[in-house]
């Protein structure tokens, strides 16, 4: 039951729990977490069966215990190192997200190809030329990469990432990468998602009136 969907929801539970903890709350019911993750209480309870914790009837789950359990399972305490290639608008925007407090990953190296970007400082990291990717990634033992380069360059850069030892890629380019099966790819395809909302909302409108 540790599927992609499961992780996505658990990350949302974690986020909600952090807010609850900051607000001083001690316990929480599955229904409340369900609201935060836009799912049902049953799903929440099933998801939490994979987490070392137990809720008590009438009171719900202990915020502190649940949060600790989630962080153990997700390995959130490890601050896994990440590399990013492509420091345009998008790269800099993503940089902002990763710097946010509740991100359990740590950006350790950034790369670009453009001479005006190389050597510059981004979020405290000096931008390397993308040719340095193999050494840097290997030296720092980085396994995770974020791809924020233009679509035409995505495949080539991804190949170099994989050659350097990266096994997980968050791909923002509007292209499906062809990579070995042992590499996990998550696509953040803005154009596809935008067309999907357009279609889904139109569909909803049609089925409502029809």
């Amino acid at each position: 039951m540790s599927s992609r969907k499961w992780v996505g929801r658990v990350v949302l539970y974690r986020r909600a729990l952090q807010e609850l903890q900051a607000a001083g709350r001690e316990t929480v019911a599955s229904a409340e977490l369900a609201e935060a993750a836009a799912c049902t209480p049953e799903i929440v309870r099933r998801d939490l069966m994979e987490i070392p914790c137990s809720g008590s009837p009438r009171r719900g789950y202990t915020v502190r215990e649940l949060l600790a359990g989630i962080e153990v399972v997700l390995g959130a305490s490890e601050r896994m190192p990440v590399a990013m290639v492509g420091m345009g608008n998008l790269g800099r925007a993503v940089l902002g997200y990763i710097a946010s407090r509740d991100c359990p990953l740590q950006l350790r190296a950034v790369f670009d190809r453009a001479p005006e970007a190389v050597g510059r400082d981004f979020g405290g990291l000096r931008c390397h030329h993308v040719d340095a990717l193999p050494e840097v990634v290997r030296d720092l033992g980085i396994r995770l990469g974020i791809l924020t380069v233009p679509g035409a360059e995505a495949q080539a850069v991804a190949d170099r990432m994989v050659a350097a030892g990266i096994t997980g890629i968050l791909n923002f380019a509007p292209a499906r990468l062809a990579l070995p099966g042992n590499v996990t790819v998550e696509n953040m395809d803005v154009l596809t998602s935008l067309q999907a909302v357009a279609w889904m909302s139109r569909l909803a409108a049609i089925s409502r009136q029809g």
Copy 2:
């Protein structure tokens, strides 16, 4: 069978077909489209059952016919108008995607709250103050919105979008929006996806060695 997943794949077929057409190809097999969309030939063939087209054995599908069929079904020829709120790094990055040739949607209005952004030109559009959202969206008949504001402001801005008549939102803020059921929301949650790749790739590594 016109689900969210279906649209996502059809958009990818469309993209692949455009490239094939540009390259002068006349026919294409389901296996080739499957590769482009990272799925199986069977899925492609089932997906295409919703499209007005027919493949012929031994030759496959006619690129031109299939492309035309997809554009009819997706309504890609309409150039549906879109509004965007939040013109920071992220907003400007997304602007670049939407301007790309194969995006069948048209950005018609952009908004921000910051005085230094309001009045500025972004991709040929003069940035409005977010307070003008109701009139502008209503006047232009916009139904689709892109939310690229910081997480803390996302819910408030989304509420205003919905009040102004928007029924589909592409949400980049790391927060689940609470909106009426008739509004379609697609979440592009960078932090969640990043943690998902981290987990999935770690899981793959464990199951490979274990």
